[in-house]
Amino acid sequence: PSALKYELIARCSTTKARASVLRLPHGPVETPLFMPVATQGTLKGLTPEQLESVGCRLCLNNTYHLGLRPGQIVLDKIGGAHKLQSWSHNILTGEFQMVSLLQLATVTEKGVEFLSPHDGTPMLLTPEHSISLQHSIGSDIIMQLDDVIVTTSPDEKRMREAMDRSIRWLDRCVEEHLKGDSYAERQNLFCIIQGGLDLGMRKECCEEMVKRDTPGIAIGGLSGGEAKDEYCKVVDTCTSLLPDGKPRYVMGVGYPEDLVVSIALGADMFDCVWGTRTARFGNAITSSGVLNLRNAIYAEDFRAVDPECQCPVCRPLDSPAPPLLNSTINPPSYASAPRGDDSYTGRGLGITKAYIHHLAAKETVGAHLLTMHNVAFLLSLMNKARIAIVEDRYPAFLREFFFKWYSGDKGKYPTWAVDALRGVGVDLLQGESEV
């Protein structure tokens, strides 16, 4: 059973990049898609409408955090996470980065055992419990509980155990999900491919999990300390084995270079806290790279954070909101507010680098503004990639992206990216530069 519809819209004639519309219970989204992470039911100081204003229609919540606070009882009373945070669009939940839990947790066949951070008593998180929590949360996409090992672990036996166990846990998750109140008609369970950097194990895991026929498929365990070329091999291997008609979600990836390369390797969906976390360090993601606006060189830079950006932060003060990033997605909730109401306008703010520099690390408003811009940048980057795929000029898009990102210095292009893209028929170093 599935509560989503995956419509393939276009395919790059050179790379493995795809563009699609993914119809979910709370409205359609378009892929390639970046999903901002609102861990505890909010995106670091932004109101839901500010998040909508930059085109987000699918964000992440974390099952752990919501399970702890406000807790399952309150979630049931309120009626789930959409109601908790007044978010009328889609939510994806999962137990992200179990890797980091492992120092203090023991994994057994039953589940993941933790010591309570409060009183030290042992707690157990089982696949069944994880699904039950995600039912209470009511997220549109739910993730299986998996056994994750850092990809760089040399322990091949443990890696295989984790992979096999993740498959067994998927079966338990599916069983739990199919029980009871027709959850599977409202929520989509995604499996998570494990297997570390061992391509054979990844292949095996893909085959097993594809058999379980979940509505979507995630590639997990990456974004750790692994070498980028190894990362690319895993993504490339998995996407080649996965069915065409389902979305492919690479977990924990959100650095612009990683995103555009992963799209070329056939991935559709991504999430990462990097963009919003780095905003709180004063870092702005721009088409010419990441700028640390706390640096004194920006104290008198009276230009927009990214002059090319169309987000409210970067557009001139009071300039009207541009049309939606893409026409498929639902309009923002504030668009239907009655006239004269004090509702959100999405009009421009005309913020300069100098003003962010002035606020950075001193006023939270500075972090709010940069968070909004960074999310906008990543969503807009995905949208541009999508348009390039639809117009079948993704290789040119890649060349243009890298050229700008490295200010035209091809010598700085990372080898892993050049190699990975060569593998799908794009030579970043050849051909005319687009800028």
């Binding site: 109101t47 009373k77 007044s86 707690m123 009276f302 300069t352």
Partner: protein
Amino acid sequence: MAAAAKSGIVFDLQTVRSGDAASGGNSGGARIGRFAATGSGVSFNTPSFIAQTSRGAVPHLSGDNLRDHTDVRVVYVALEDFIEKSHPNVPVYNHPSTLRDFISHPSNSLLMLAPRRSPPVTTATPNTDASIAILTSVGFRALEVDDYFNAVSSLRPDIAISPPDLPHQTPGKNRGPKMVFRTELWLGELVNRNASNTPLFAPILPLDIEQQSYYLGYLKEHISSLSGLALYDARLAVNLPDDLKGLPRLSLDEALTPHKVLQRVGWGVDIFDLVFLTQMTDAGISLTFQFPGETARKKEALGVDLWSNEYAASLDPLAVGCKCYACRKHHRAYVQHLLTAKEMTAWVLLQIHNVKIVSNFFAAIRGSITRGTFEEDCKTFAQTYKEEFPEQTGHGPRYHFPSPSPRNALLIQKRLRGYQFKSEGGARKKNPKAFNKLGGDKQEALEGSETPPDIDAERLEQVGLRSY
């Protein structure tokens, strides 16, 4: 009625309810006025309020939220928030345009510039004839009054307050006359050098009216150069000379509760600096009072402490009947969740809501004065609501920008000077010291109830779940 037209600012005094016993004087009495800035087209009715800023931003409100979701029509900006560096290197001075452009201030509200924050943090050194002691984010220093005058000309705020000479302690016998002397001297200078024709507010010192009678005479003589008065002791509104009554009166002394605001409205104050607004927001308290309210058997609270677990599943708005964005779209349970999760959005929603409560409060006050029921309504309000705000139980927002090393975190912490910076004698509770030992040992992290939000979330990932 009396109307004073000045460059840029028109104040039209429409109604004065004077002579009532509560005002205790001749020229006291609640007033209704209309304050309009001719250039920008921003206008509002008085009594009303201004919002304090920190480094040009109303705490918690990015410009879009301020513009779209609040009725704030004047913000107060302190020059000391912008001048860490020595003169030629001050970015705001080198900005090709105005202060408004530098902070990208929304066009629907006015900028009022003053040398210091309100209330100001006590400085280590005293003022001199030519300088004011200030505090910037990097420490204490002196601001030459000349530099302030130049800043008024170049930054072109909508309103500038002429610098008052305010000592740290209650002035002694000799200090009073010196305060008056300097304040008059500086105002005279500013009037003469006001090349940009910026509308000026003259300070009224926190001294007896007799002690500054010559200065008040000076103000009368120069009334055509003035657009308003900034009162550092609101009681003086009652005794101001009749000749000055056409000027709008901004009160910069701390009206710590709505009851005190009402009292000051009765004294004839037109515009309020509401310190309690951001204070209550930071405390996690949702304001719930209305004017005049309906007397019940038991006195109602002025606000609700949303830290309380009681609201964990409450789908009620932050205040019953409130139509602000936060109340239309969200509920107490969400704000309660965000507060306990130490998520910044909690304070964003609270600030939007609390500003709305205060706007409604002033609108109701104006209606009441117009109807002629103000005194009666004040009695009802006093019977309806408790004297004080609820006790603060939770912890205020903290700056928690993650830092790569604990050493840097400490450095940043030290240099921080957010709006929460405690002023001497201020009513604000000091935030308990935040846990910021990022690389610290786990046990300590778990015990630290003051864990900054991000670290809190990240710690949770590392240490696992409590219980379901």
